[in-house]
């Protein structure tokens, strides 16, 4: 009987579970021992059980294509990724610190702009940011928190250090997949889960509900909370419906809401109009209110910004919060932490070159083949150049694009991001992974225990986005003191 570990070769990247080809890390010792007790046939069976569960539970995401939208089953790798609780506590602290500083920054941007006045950042960065909303100047959401829900992408480089790759502050998605991944793992590996102390994650919907209730307009005792979705054709519709269901909140579309002359938001119910206090909106700023932003938006609610400015409804995340979700602004986060919190950053940034800065731009243009170049405002892994994997022609084309609009591009060294054993055609092979924990901030701050681990299923690939051939893994934070 051949082992699924046969020829497992860790490359130069850090492997999350293995120190070397044959030696598991202390943290993954028991998992590896357990996997060794299963033969290939057993593993195949578990994998099939997971696939069946995903189909039956209807865990899907939508892919846009020329032939219409296709609902695809969620790609899931049954081998979990493990982090020790000791390391995790530090990461958790770092994530809280980071989001707190980011929220201070956003509040400052729409207020006195002290950070810029103090010379910490050129004002031009804000003025040229397409996510800066002048409509928000002078406003103060509850607790002065603008980004209530944040998904921060972390990667581990070959030095073993976790770096922050980006902060998603607009409408980060993926948390429902994190929750469902655990449900599937419980079905697939019930034996091992019982014997290892893994931090539970299923309190997220409750925490989300608490956070949303904590930002309701001040006088409201039992706020009516709704999740605003762009509709069933959105790629994250599954998640919108899932979170609404788990929180016991209403899932609404733009057409279900109306803003009346009293500047309050109502939803159309079988009993007539019912007032709405908190909206967890999963629609980008641009589409939120056709009276203020894009006039052609059929997804939003006319008058929503009026109601929000009047303080009659809370929006999470607040409009304009995306100003900090910009890869140029990202480069200044360590400085924000020092400036607003008077602390040293716990989690390091990846070295970032701002093409806007002439010195940086020269360096970037001279080193394109070894850098990753990203647009400042895109998400989903679109429109970027991975230097080491690009052809000479692609690099030449990108050079022109960057020179044309340097403000819109940043560059980073190509990290050798960590790998984890992943089931590929019946045996384990190392595949590159990242991690997206979710942070909630309202009256209090909360971080998920772990997060969504995304894996690039193609050999050697560094792109983990599900829209581009990525999959996911369950993430275990193991209590080391008790195991």
């Amino acid at each position: 009987m051949k082992s699924i570990w046969e020829n497992y070769k860790t490359d130069r990247a850090y492997d999350e579970l293995m120190c070397s080809e044959f030696q598991p890390r202390p943290i993954s010792y028991r998992l590896c021992q357990y996997l060794n007790s299963l033969n290939k046939n057993d593993i195949d069976k578990r994998k099939m059980a997971a696939e069946l569960a995903i189909l039956e539970m209807g865990i899907s995401f939508t892919v846009y294509s020329d032939e219409g939208n296709i609902d695809r089953a969620w790609p899931f790798d049954i081998i979990p990724r493990i982090i020790s609780s000791i390391e995790w506590r530090k990461i958790e602290k770092g994530l809280k610190q980071r989001l707190t500083a980011l929220n201070c920054f956003i509040a400052d941007v729409y207020d006195q702009q002290e950070f810029i006045k103090a010379g910490k950042m050129p004002g031009a960065i804000i003025n040229s940011s397409k996510n800066f909303r002048k409509e928000c100047i002078g406003l103060k959401p509850r607790h002065n928190v603008w980004a209530n829900i944040c998904g921060t992408d972390l990667v581990r480089d070959k030095d073993g250090v976790m770096y922050v790759l980006e902060d998603n502050l607009r409408v980060p998605s993926g948390v429902s997949y994190m929750l469902e991944n655990r449900v599937i793992t419980k079905r697939v590996f019930p034996e091992i889960l019982q014997n290892i102390d893994i931090l539970p994650i299923d309190d997220y919907p409750g925490r989300l509900q608490d956070m949303l209730a904590s930002i309701a307009p001040e006088h409201i005792k039992k706020p009516q909370i709704v999740v605003l979705t762009p509709g069933i054709y959105n790629s994250a519709y599954f998640e919108h419906a899932y979170l609404a269901q788990q929180m016991g909140a209403q899932l609404v579309e733009g057409g279900d809401l109306v803003v009346n002359d009293d500047d309050c938001v109502y939803m159309r119910t079988i009993e007539g109009l019912e007032k709405v206090d908190v909206i967890y909106r999963r629609i980008d700023d641009d589409f939120l209110d056709p009276e203020v932003f894009r006039k052609d938006s059929a997804l939003g609610v006319p008058g929503l910004m009026r109601a929000w400015k009047a303080g009659n409804v809370s929006l999470a995340n607040a409009p304009g919060a995306g100003v900090a979700d910009d890869k140029v602004v990202y480069a200044y986060v360590p400085e924000m932490i020092r400036y607003y919190l008077n602390e040293e950053p716990i989690l390091p940034n990846v070295q970032t070159y701002l093409c806007d800065n002439p010195e940086h731009l020269d360096y970037v243009l001279a080193h394109l083949p070894e850098l990753v170049v990203k647009p400042a405002n895109e998400s989903g892994g679109y429109g970027m150049l991975v230097g080491p994997h690009a052809t000479t022609r692609e690099i030449a084309a990108f050079r022109k694009i960057v020179q044309k609009n340097p403000r819109n591009y940043i560059a980073q060294p190509t990290l050798s991001i960590s790998t984890a054993p992943t089931l590929c055609k019946g045996k384990l092979e190392p595949r590159h992974i990242d991690l997206r924990p979710f942070i909630l901030q309202g009256e209090n701050t909360f971080v998920t225990a772990g997060g969504l681990t995304r894996v690039a299923l193609k050999k050697g690939s560094l792109v983990v986005n599900s829209s581009q051939g990525g999959g996911s893994k369950d993430t275990w934070i193991i209590d080391m003191e008790r195991n």
Partner: protein, 317 residues
């Protein structure tokens, strides 16, 4: 509760009920054919007639044989009333209403959908078709059971019951309409010989055979069956019983306007039908008008509670 959600749950229930009805019709019909001698005029086309879809059928198929009719009724995804189309529509409605229902409800419908989708070719073979139809019947009952046991009997639940019973009343009246043809004087002597078998199968199609025997306590005959299926107050698929369920839901829902009175009127109308005093032609007329009235009731419900009503109000302004 959102008007949009009410609309989706109502249609979810209608589509699921339709799915179950088609499965039951086809499965009863297969049994019936086994009991009848070859050559008796009770072909597969009757099933297409019940759904009033002859025209659509002949646009695509030349002859109404078993292969074509089962294909058309069960898996033709271009025919909106086929079992697979109905089930797909039910799944789409529940997929967009997951915030209101227990997880198991979605998983149940999703499993049924996947089962049919993965076994689409099994309908061409009699024995595998039986398995598929049984799976659907079981699944539908399972869905009803888990909603009844897992879900608060609240407004969302009422809209589900409403949709289910509107669809059910419609289907029962369609089956009776077809059955009334069997009372026609013009039917052949050979057909008369097998009349009892036909009526028994009508009862089976509506899960009413046992209840009928307990209630009527005599051999099966046409008039009694018609009366029983229209008027019996306890049989879940009788028209009266469906209307009583509808009345119960309508009365408990907010902003019900004049709907309770309208349902009461319809109930009274059904009570006055006496199948023994009518000719076959009159009976067909009565059943036709009953189907129209159920259709009107649906329109009233939609205008009163659904987004459709809001859209029409907005257009009127």
């Amino acid at each position: 509760m959102l008007s949009r959600s009410a609309e989706r749950l109502y249609w979810l229930a209608r589509y699921l009920e339709r799915t179950e009805n088609i499965a039951r019709l086809v499965s009863v019909h297969m049994n019936l054919l086994m009991d009848l001698p070859n050559g008796v005029e009770m072909g597969w086309l009757q099933l297409v007639r019940i759904n009033a879809s002859e025209q659509q059928f002949y646009e695509k198929y030349k002859s109404a044989n078993e292969h074509n009719v089962t294909r058309f009724l069960l898996i033709d995804d271009t025919y909106p009333c086929s079992l697979f189309s109905s089930l797909s529509a039910a799944r789409e409605n529940i997929r967009t209403s997951r915030d209101l229902l227990p997880d198991e409800a979605w998983e149940q419908v999703n499993e049924m959908y996947l089962f049919v989708k993965n076994n689409i070719d099994s309908v061409y073979n009699r024995s595998s078709r039986v398995v598929l139809l049984n799976e659907i019947l079981k699944g539908s009952q399972c869905f009803t059971g888990l909603l009844s046991g897992y879900m608060s009997h609240n407004h969302p639940y009422r809209f589900i019951r409403l949709g289910k019973n509107i669809e059910r009343a419609d289907m029962t009246s369609r089956i009776l309409d077809l059955a009334s043809l069997l009372l026609a004087d013009s039917r052949s002597d050979e057909m008369r010989q097998y009349e009892t078998i036909l009526w028994v199968n009508i009862l089976k199609a509506l899960n009413a055979q046992l209840m009928y025997r307990q209630h009527v306590r005599s051999s099966v005959n046409g008039d009694d069956v018609l009366n029983f299926l229209l008027l019996n107050e306890n049989l879940p698929r009788s028209v009266s019983c469906c209307l009583a369920e509808i009345a119960g839901c309508v009365n408990a829902l907010p902003n019900c306007d004049s709907l309770p009175e309208e349902v009461t009127k319809l109930e009274a109308y059904v009570q006055t039908i006496d199948t023994r005093q009518t000719t076959q032609a009159q009976l067909r007329g009565i059943l036709d008008s009953l189907q129209n009235k159920v259709g009107e009731l649906h329109n009233r419900i939609a205008n009163n509670w659904f987004m459709q009503g809001i859209r029409e109000d907005a257009a009127a302004e």
